[in-house]
Amino acid sequence: MVKRLGALLLLLAIGGIFTSLLVGYVPDTELNDTARYYAYHTAADIGSANIVTAIVITYRGLDTLGEVTVLFLAAAILGLVLARGRRQAQARRALTPVGELLTTGSRVLVPLIMLLGVYVFINGHLTPGGGFQGGAVIASGVLLLLLAGPRKPFAHSLIAAVESLAGVFYVVIGLMGLVLAGGFLDSRVLPLGVLGALFSAGTIPIIYTLIGLKVGAEFSVMLSDLAETEELG
C-alpha cells in the first residue's frame, strides 16, 4: 500500500513537472543563434543539401564516431556473451520447416530492401536519412534472410571484414581532414561540387556509405548471434 502510494506520488510529481513545461511552452518565432548559423552557412560551408547530415557528419562528426563506437562495443559484448551458447549449438535440433510464402517472399523482397538501404545512405547528404537509417534497413533485409533460411551458414568472417574495414577507413578519412582540411573529420577534403548533386559535399557521401556498411554489419552480427543461439532452447 505504501509502495503504491509512493509510486502514485512519484507519477503525480513527474506529471506536474511535464504539465508546467507544457503550460509554459511558447513556440520560437525565429531560429536561435546556433540553428541560424547552421541554416544559413551549411550550403556554402559544407555543400550538403540536407542540413541534418552536415551537422551529424561534419560539425558534430566526433559525436557520430562515438556513436558508431558505442554500437560496435554493444555488438562485440553481445557476441562475447552469446559465444558460449553458439559452441553448444552444434548439436542442432530440428526446426519447424520454413513456409513457402516466407521463402518466396524473401527472394523478392531482400534485394529490394538492400537496394533501399543503399539508396538511403548514398543519398544521405541530399534526402532525409543516412548511414544509421540505411544500415538499419540493410540489417532488416539480413533479418528476413535469417528468418527464411535459418540453416544457411552466415558469413561471419566477411561481415567482420566489412565492419572493420569500414571503421578503419572512416577514421582514415577523418585523419585526412586533419591534414588536408580544417580539422578531424572535416569533409572538405574533396571539392564541394554543385549543391544537390550526388557527388557533392566533399567526403560526406563516402563517410555515410562507410557508416551505413558498418552499422548494417553490426546489426546483422547482433541478429545472427541471437538467431544462432536461439536454437539452444
Partner: protein
C-alpha cells in the same frame, strides 16, 4: 500547424498511449512486444508531422523494426529456458 494536422496529432497521441498501456498491462508477451513496436511506429509518424524525417526514419527502422525482432529472439530464448526448467522438475517427480 493546420487544424487537420492538429487533430491527427491528437488521435496519434491517444493511439500511442493506448498501445503503451496494452504493452504494459497485457497478459500475452507477443502482443506486448507488438504493442511496443506500435508505440515506436506511431512515434515515427509523429516525428514526420513535427518536421524531422531523419529521426522518423531511425525510429521506424530501429525502434519499430529491429528492436521488435530482437525482443522476439530473446523471447524465444527465454521461453526455451522456461520449458527446460519445467522438463527438469517433471523428470525429478517421475
Amino acid at each position: 500547424m493546420s487544424l487537420l494536422l492538429t487533430a491527427m496529432t491528437f488521435v496519434l497521441c491517444i493511439a500511442m498511449i493506448v498501445a503503451a498501456l496494452v504493452s504494459i498491462l497485457g497478459r500475452s508477451l507477443p502482443i506486448a512486444i507488438l504493442a511496443a513496436g506500435l508505440v515506436s511506429l506511431v512515434a515515427s509518424v509523429l516525428f514526420v508531422i513535427l518536421a524531422s524525417p531523419d529521426v522518423a526514419m531511425t525510429e521506424a527502422a530501429i525502434g519499430s523494426g529491429l528492436s521488435t525482432f530482437l525482443f522476439f529472439f530473446v523471447l524465444g530464448r527465454v521461453r526455451g529456458g522456461e520449458r527446460d526448467g519445467e522438463d527438469e522438475s517433471g523428470s525429478e517427480h517421475g
